[in-house]
């Protein structure tokens, strides 16, 4: 019941609306109840409403409003990229992006792979059924 993800300096958040949709940003300072000063290695530091952010579990160690160099170093030290890509949430997003960027040939290859996988699973199932029967 208690809260686990807090808005704090160093909290990594995902942008869920607007121009920077899908980006991971770091909350670098809090302006007021609805807005945070937000920074990422590839964008100018700017303000963002909390409604556009979804907090993640990842938090890095920074002081209030670090300069870009310190921020990038802290992101490396906290290993944010790997933590994100190995988390179930991050993996899901990567898979979604991959699926959205498939062309027809890729979808054909996937269809063949699915059929093959289903065939192997069905063989194993038939084997198990024969043993118990």
């Amino acid at each position: 019941m208690p809260f686990k993800r807090y808005v704090e300096v160093g909290r990594v958040a995902l942008v869920n609306y607007g121009k920077d949709y899908g980006k991971l940003v770091v909350i670098v300072d809090v302006i007021d109840q609805n807005r945070a000063l937000v920074d990422a290695p590839d964008m100018v530091r700017g303000q963002m409403n909390f409604k556009r952010l979804t907090l993640t579990d990842i938090k890095i160690e920074i002081k209030r409003v670090p300069n870009k160099k310190t921020l990038i170093a802290a992101l490396e030290a906290g290993d944010v990229k790997n933590k994100w890509e190995n988390s179930s949430w991050g993996r899901k997003l990567i898979v979604q992006k991959k699926r959205a960027s498939l062309n027809d040939f890729d979808r054909f290859k996937i269809m063949l792979a699915k059929i093959k996988k289903a065939g192997v699973v069905r063989q194993e199932l038939a084997k198990l059924k024969k043993e118990t029967a």
Partner: protein
């Protein structure tokens, strides 16, 4: 971030006459949505302060003033004079924002919502960047905490673009974080 109110520096003076070859030049910093309105506002204020009108004056310069450091958070104090239904009042308001234009916009919207005062009934007397020690309002002082930490209690999940908005949903939303 596009702001409705832009800050302008307007410079003007009365037209030179035989009795006054070099009239005094006056400079004002004011907020308006565009340049035309800024010039008009300039003459409005100048008329109230000096014996000069647009017809016997000339505009010397109008420049837009941009924020020097739009990536740092500042506490802005705004002194204003507004007209309510019963008379004129002075007010001092504090805002936390990255730019002065943003805080002025916050001020106008707050005055409209809290006091039903429309934008044309508000005159900005003075604005200043206030250091954290001198802030007077609790609502700005509560954010002067280097280890600020709070949870987001109410989470409404929105579709990521306006196009994906639907009127009806299949299930009730889960609003917990």
């Amino acid at each position: 971030m596009s702001y409705k109110f832009h800050q302008f520096q307007v410079v003007g003076r009365a037209l030179p006459t035989e009795s006054d070859e070099h009239p005094k030049i006056y400079r004002m910093k004011l907020w308006a949505t565009n340049e035309v309105r800024a010039k008009s506002k300039f003459w409005y204020y100048l008329r109230k302060l000096k014996k000069v009108k647009k017809s016997n004056g000339q505009m010397l310069a109008i420049n837009e003033i941009f924020e020097k450091n739009p990536t740092t958070i500042k506490n802005y104090g705004i002194w204003l004079r507004y007209q309510s239904r019963t008379g004129y009042h002075n007010m001092y308001k504090e805002y936390r924002d990255t730019t002065l234009n943003g805080s002025i916009e916050q001020m106008y919207t707050e005055m409209a919502s809290r006091h039903r005062v429309r934008h044309h009934c508000i005159q900005v007397i003075k604005t200043a960047t206030i250091p954290a020690k001198l802030c007077k309002r609790e609502s700005t002082k509560q954010f002067h905490n280097s280890k600020i930490k709070f949870p987001l209690v109410f989470k409404k999940v929105r579709p990521p673009t306006r196009k994906l908005k639907t009127t009806y949903k299949a299930s009730r939303p889960n609003l917990f974080v």
